[in-house]
Amino acid sequence: MNDNDADLAGDVETVLRAVPGVAALHPAGSAASRIVDAGARALGVLAGDPALVALRRAGDRLRVEAAIAVRSDSRAADAARLAHAAVSVLLARRGEGEAEVRLTVVRIESATESDREKGTSS
């Protein structure tokens, strides 16, 4: 396993969580990921943990995948675009500007869930 890629995946995760409108990350496989399927092991994760951000290199191509839940008070399509923009900036800084980024919204929170989060956030 490539330590650099493991770090990169972690950084992508951090960036995604910071995007306004993104409520949570779900295992990348829950979006019918092209990378994470039965028997496949995604880079950048500990053995046994479900991959939250999946990375794969094929030749010189890097592919990044993630599944996100969005807040009810955001617009899912906008949140997905914002998330993509944020990840692209990060990847460009790491010299991975050509990477393919696949983001899937797998859940939209209900208003009560989003409210609860607002209430408990410090």
Partner: protein, 207 residues
Amino acid sequence: MTDEHDTPDLRRLGVEPDDLDGHTIEELGEYLDSGRMPPDPSIDDSPGCLLALDALERLRGLTPGLIAADDAAEPEADEGWVQKILTGIALDARPGRRIPIAAGSPHADLGITEGAVRGLVRAAENAVPGVLVGRCRLDGDVTVAGAPIRIRVDASVPYGQPIPGLADRLRAQIAVRLRAHTELNVVGIDITVHDIQLLPSPGEEGR
């Protein structure tokens, strides 16, 4: 041809062909299954057969009682059991098809799952109290941007309110949410109400 002088009270149930004027229980069972149609005089005129048919019918009549008694003898499922079942199933939240989101960049592949949209549609019920959304289907090729999509929803509504009004409100709520979160070209939202629920309400008469 037998020349029977037995009265029905004294006659005992027999289940072999000798008792059934040559018929078998298998035939009689199937005769009963078919509602005694078409009528067969060799059965209908045979006292032995009629006795056996009565017995078969009594047996059938007992079955619902057996089912009810068996069910009643089983305890209710406790929460430990329910949790055991839930943890045993793979909660993949049924993603369904992937619906594209416009990205404006060649290296971006953005989408939202059908499962997310179904959850969204279901959440619309929170805005129409008492209404419950059942199954939700997206008809049309959701994987193609701009393809016309019909949303079909099952719903149950609370007793006492006009159904069209509730359906319209639910429809409006669903439409708002779909516009906010997806780029689907929704050409129609069909709501089918199957069930009218009597909700318990303090101070009102029970049903």
